[in-house]
């Protein structure tokens, strides 16, 4: 599933002179992922949040799925799983047929996106120094 996480923390390696040609390895990137599980089910995770954001942007499940390079069927299943896990649904797609009408993010969906992204950001900011130390153990 494509990642649209905003919590990438690229911590550059120790300050050596940069060679003119590109480095042999990609730069190490530290990234948090937050998952909320109920039993074996991932109720909320990066894939579902990215899907919600894409629906908020595009106004339809079809367009969101296309944007994320995901089948409509997979997008629909993820949303169904998410809606079942929540007290109130995150997406309202009552209008039109299965593929017909548009889909709207609900207030709960908006809250979910906001909390999730804020948590990722706060987590990342809380650990910058140790993240840098960890990344410095890696070869370049």
């Amino acid at each position: 599933m494509p990642s649209r996480s905003t919590s990438k923390v690229a911590v550059s390696s120790v300050g050596r002179a940069q060679a003119a040609k590109p480095p042999a390895r990609a730069r190490p990137v530290a990234k948090f992922r937050l998952r909320i599980t109920t039993g074996d089910v991932i109720a909320v995770g990066p894939g579902k949040v990215a899907l919600l954001e894409a629906i908020a942007q595009t106004g339809s499940i079809t367009a969101a799925a296309k944007h994320l390079d995901m089948s409509y069927r997979r997008a629909w299943m993820l949303l169904d799983e998410l809606n079942r896990a929540l007290k109130k649904p995150a997406v309202d797609s009552a209008k039109g047929g299965q593929h017909g009408g548009g889909s709207e993010i609900t207030d709960v969906g908006r809250q979910l996106i906001e909390l999730y992204r804020r948590i990722e950001l706060a987590a990342t900011q809380a650990c910058q120094d140790d993240m840098s130390r960890l990344v410095k153990l890696l070869a370049r």
Copy 2:
């Protein structure tokens, strides 16, 4: 791969009276996972850190793999990938043959475990309130 993460944050749902019989759903659990990627490779992630911890405990790759219900081959491949990603190896298994001698965590391996777990803990502690809010959106 088995998870041995210590960053589980179980945030109990709103304070309702507990029924005598077990709840219909498992309790939602919010969990951070930290990954460091270099290009497409996950250089450091929860599986590798759990494996390092098991080697530190058991003193051998064979015992650690068994403890984590993982094949020796898979454990060896994960360690090889990890050692290649680091400036200095996290595990020293020079002694004995491939299956023969014991394996020891190096100072780098110990640093890696410590930083990884400290980051998870700090991240989790930094977001307790928003985590609770997020978990409260979930049905019980």
